[in-house]
């Protein structure tokens, strides 16, 4: 199974509530997958600031003095915000790559969850309510976000195997389903220079989209390409810095419901996830068609 929720806000007055709305939606999907949960929040870009979200199995040791160590390595101030096993590092945007390289030397055991100027990803093994509480998701604000609760089929139940997967700047993808040709697609992408953290099929889908967009494709074009190049079952929900997309495979047995009002576009694996959204009674509610790309950009 697996449960997916997503929210793309059109009305800025809802932005302070994004984390709370998304966390509530994700908790309703708990019985679709109790193994691990994760949320990507696009908290909005600030001029010249870049963000790296990192995760560690030994956060106390790894995050101690990380801001000072990183500052000394790249020569600019670094802001460190620790949230349980994750931490968000804020650095000048033009120092993002330098900071990333320095991190690999300073803290080799630390895993990078996301890099960009808006995205933050928090994911761990455990139930959605516990994961949301651990990272205080309910207090996060933002413009759009995606959540996932996992019932593992293709690879191990680990933090790195949890969704969302991020394989490009400000990009993320979550998946309900399983891909059958992920090994061959991974080999092709590796040859093209993409790197992988896991053996997970979903990471391949994320990297496939990142690679297409690196080559100049728009979000919609990259998503269209999944329909020809990826084999298997999938409902994907994708986030970019300014965009939010949904696509289902042609068989479309992995469930999906969408709702749109003047205030938001929302996605849920089931209608249950949407029932508490404001104005849902009068929203346009529909099931996305098979093999059809839907996306919104601001």
């Amino acid at each position: 199974m697996c449960g997916i929720v997503g929210l793309f806000l059109k009305d800025p007055s809802l932005e302070p509530k994004l984390g709370a709305m998304l966390a509530d939606m994700l908790v309703t999907m708990t019985d679709r997958g109790p193994d691990s949960a994760g949320i990507a929040i696009y908290s909005g870009a600030r001029d010249g600031i870049g963000k790296i979200t990192v995760q560690s199995a030994q956060p106390e040791a790894d995050f101690r003095n990380l801001d000072e160590d990183l500052k000394n390595a790249i020569g600019t101030p670094v802001l460190l915000l620790i949230k349980s096993t994750h931490a968000v590092l804020e650095v000048p945007l033009d120092q993002l790559e330098a900071a990333r390289t320095a991190l690999a030397h300073l803290r080799p055991a630390v895993k990078i969850m996301s890099v960009g100027d808006s995205i933050e990803i928090f994911k761990e093994v455990g139930l959605p309510k516990d994961v949301a509480a651990r990272f205080d998701i309910a207090r996060m604000k933002g413009t759009h976000g995606i959540g996932h609760t996992r019932m593992a089929t293709e690879s191990a139940v680990t933090t790195m195997g949890a969704h969302p997967f991020s394989t490009g700047s400000d990009q993320c993808l979550v998946h309900n389903g399983s891909l059958s040709n992920h090994n061959s697609v991974r080999r092709t992408l590796k040859k093209a220079g993409m790197t992988f953290e896991t053996e997970n099929d979903t990471e391949v889908a994320a990297a496939f989209l990142s690679h297409k967009m690196e080559d100049g494709a728009g979000l919609g074009q990259a998503m269209e390409a999944t329909l020809t190049d990826l084999d298997g079952f999938f409902t994907f929900v994708v986030g970019t810095k300014n965009g939010f997309g949904v696509v289902r495979d042609p068989i479309a047995c992995k469930p999906a419901v969408m709702a749109e009002t003047d205030q938001y576009v929302a996605f849920g694996s089931e209608y249950r996830a949407l029932v508490d959204l404001p104005g849902i009674e009068d929203a346009r509610v529909w099931e996305p068609e098979p093999a059809t790309v839907y996306f919104w950009e601001r």
Binding site: A252, P255, V257, E270, Y271, E287, E289
Partner: protein, 229 residues
Amino acid sequence: MPSFDLGAHGLRALNSNLHALKGQTNETQWDIVNPRGSHAIAVGVDAPVDITVHGSTGYYCAGMNKQATVRVKGSAGPGVAENMMSGTVIVDGDASQYAGATGRGGLLVIKGNASSRCGISMKGIDIVVHGSIGHMSAFMAQSGNLVVLGDAGDALGDSLYEARLFVRGNVKSLGADCIEKEMRAEHLEILENLLRRGEADAKARPEEFRRYGSARKLYNFNIDNASAY
């Protein structure tokens, strides 16, 4: 007229109350409020009662229904009226995938659209869809009637047995062994009856439909097809 707040009392209490109704009962009208997309609402009812669900439902609403009339004042999730035996299920909105799957009897009416696999493996149920249906509908359908006022998606009636399919709009493609067939007087009579019972007689006339059925070429093993297996 019992009114049941599903949000307050929960699914198990609802369904055990409904299952306790046997034969003749004075509690013939049930109103279920706060369904909030819950699964398995009014599954396995076996009594001649009227149940109205005020809102949208999740998976398997009214599954295995016998005798009861269940009306959903909203949309229904996957597998509505799955394996229905008798009675009537009416969905005012849309239905998700495999509506009426494996149904053996009774009438399922969907006022909106139904998505993929509507009536898959149906075995005697009648289904009337006021809107359109998705791909792979009536796959391996064995008996009963599927009436669609709108369009049908890809691979309609693939590997069909003896179910009758009536579609008023376009059929995107027919599945293996499904062909268009002649509409005879007896079929117009079936349609007239189903459109009336399906609350669709004001929207469509029997003459506007085309009939599809099995070419009966897949019934027996054919050695010439061996290479295809």
